[in-house]
Amino acid sequence: MASEFYILIIGYIFGFYMAWNIGANDVANSMASAVGAKAITIRQAIFIAGILNILGATFIGTHVTNTIRKGIVSTEVLTDPHLALIGALSALLAAALWVSFATWKSLPVSTTHSIVGAMIGFGIMAGGFSVINWGKLGAVVLSWVISPVFALVIGFIMFKTITRLILSKRDPFTWSLRLSPLFIGIAFFVIVLSFLFKTPLGKKLAIGTPMALVIAFILAIGLGFVAMKLLGRYTQKRESSGAEDIFRKIQIGTSCYVALAQGANDVANAIGPLAVIYFIVKTGEIGASVPVPIFLLFFGGIGIACGIGMAGHRVMDTIGRKITTLTNTRGFSVDFAAATTVMVASKLGLPVSTTHAAVGGVMGVGLARGLEAVNFRIIFQIILYWVLTVPASAITSIVIFKIIKLLL
């Protein structure tokens, strides 16, 4: 029992370290467009990202965590709790190692991919190849391809819509105010649905799908118009006012949207294996399906927030200085595309990378001819490291597993 207790403590430490890493590096990717477009200051970005990552992680986060924990690797097949415990720990260490390596070498490696690879290694070691649910894994891998494309399409459509319906109009200021309930409403619709489906909170309310849709729809319309009223009151119209003035305000909202989605999605990367460890240590066996305790999600959220607080400043400062061509309408389109993609994927239980969704969003706006110069070659690099990360972290996880097994 004593060794298990130590494993749990190590699990907490490395789980926190992973969450810290997400906060330090990945948050910059999602807040980049808002900071780059000067919609919010770095201080505000850190504040918003910190609070909303915790909220997203705690209240919307469960579903993805479940998938990583028992979707890809079916814990039901594992017979020996001791082996599973070591496996989960090695997965966590392997992922932490990979993320540290990537940070050190400045490689565009996704935390999500590292943890999924490590979990696969863990599964193979703990129960052989048969415990890997290849169908599920295939779906997850497919979601990595689809999520940037999905974000690209949304970003493209969003920016084209803004160009057609707002920018090309004689009075873009008024038009953007007039259409703001639409954009804000869609975001709220997605957020409310995320809250109602498959979260502990939503389950307590016990609302059926059609009812949830109706509630989300009504709330979205209501909140959309409230937001428009607020925008109208707090934005002064000047002679030179354009759509950007309105979108600068809207972007404050969308950066909250991004942070919320990120918290919901990414917390699983940090506490997925930790949840397994926690469960085994607490019950002494491997259960079929037990929801991740909410305090673990909260713990993950706090870890992310700490990462943002300590290292986010430096990263976002670089972004603010380097990305100068991003305007608020572009930033909004990128944010909206990324957050919607991540939110939807998160609700489907697919652990996608927030960073890649943001990259997809930028590409969408770039394809819509919205940005002065975007380098698309980054996708090849991302694909390369994506192909490399999963096997590499799986093998690392296997090696660590062997070592720990020798020691214990």
């Binding site: 980049a32 940005l371 975007v374």
Partner: protein, 222 residues
């Protein structure tokens, strides 16, 4: 730092194009001074002006190379990359024509421009200054359009291109008038050749500015 987001954004080529247009404008100013100097007889600064233009041309060339060399494959711009390059080429040709004009003058600088034609040449030079001024203004406004996609802004750029064409037409008329006058007043065949060619070169400055405008029209097409 693992920030793929950051590496997606590269320096906008429009900055370089604006810079290049400023160099063209600067060159045009020196050119005008050089012509005035030639006409004022005892011109001592002519070589000095030529050197200035030479330096400016080298600087502009460096800007041009920087723009072309720093757009990696797979870069997405607000306009087609090759349209942008063709625009830049035309804008650069304006500069080349200015340089060629001074070079051509220097080959026969002792004779200079005959007194009867002095006024006409001054008018022609002045006429080609207008399109160059308009060109650098157009670049600034076009960049604004690519950022706000507003219809009034697009109309503004279109109007500027129209003005450019109008200026070119005016310069053309002056060029033709000079040619006619040269043939009817100068008897020395060598001088005739020198002056006709000079008028053509100066006229071509406006031509290239107009071409650049046309390329811009293609870039802002919906």
């Amino acid at each position: 730092m693992r920030i793929p987001f950051l590496s997606m954004f590269i320096k906008s080529p429009f900055e370089g194009i604006q810079e290049h247009a400023e160099k063209v404008k600067e060159c045009a100013g020196v050119f005008q001074k050089a012509i005035e100097c030639i006409i004022e007889e005892r011109c001592e600064d002519f070589e000095h002006f030529r050197k200035d233009i030479d330096n400016l041309e080298t600087e502009a060339d460096a800007i041009k190379r920087r723009i072309r060399g720093h757009l990696p494959k797979g870069t997405m711009l607000t306009v087609d990359k090759f349209q942008l390059f063709r625009y830049l080429r035309e804008q650069d040709k304006v500069l080349d024509a200015v340089e060629e004009g001074l070079d051509w003058l220097s080959f026969r600088s002792a004779a200079g421009i005959p007194e009867v034609l002095e006024k006409d040449f001054m008018l022609l030079v002045e006429a080609v200054m207008d399109p160059i001024e308009e060109l650098s203004k157009m670049v600034v406004e076009a960049r604004k359009y690519f950022s706000n996609f507003s219809e009034p802004q697009r109309r503004l750029v279109k109007d500027m291109i129209r003005t450019l064409r109008h200026h070119e037409h005016e310069a053309d008329k002056l060029e033709d008038a000079i040619k006619e006058k040269v043939f009817n007043t100068i008897d020395d065949a060598v001088a005739v050749f020198h002056l006709i060619r000079l008028a053509e070169i100066i006229g071509s400055i406006a031509d290239h500015a107009e071409n650049a405008g046309d390329m811009m029209r293609a870039m802002i097409a919906k």
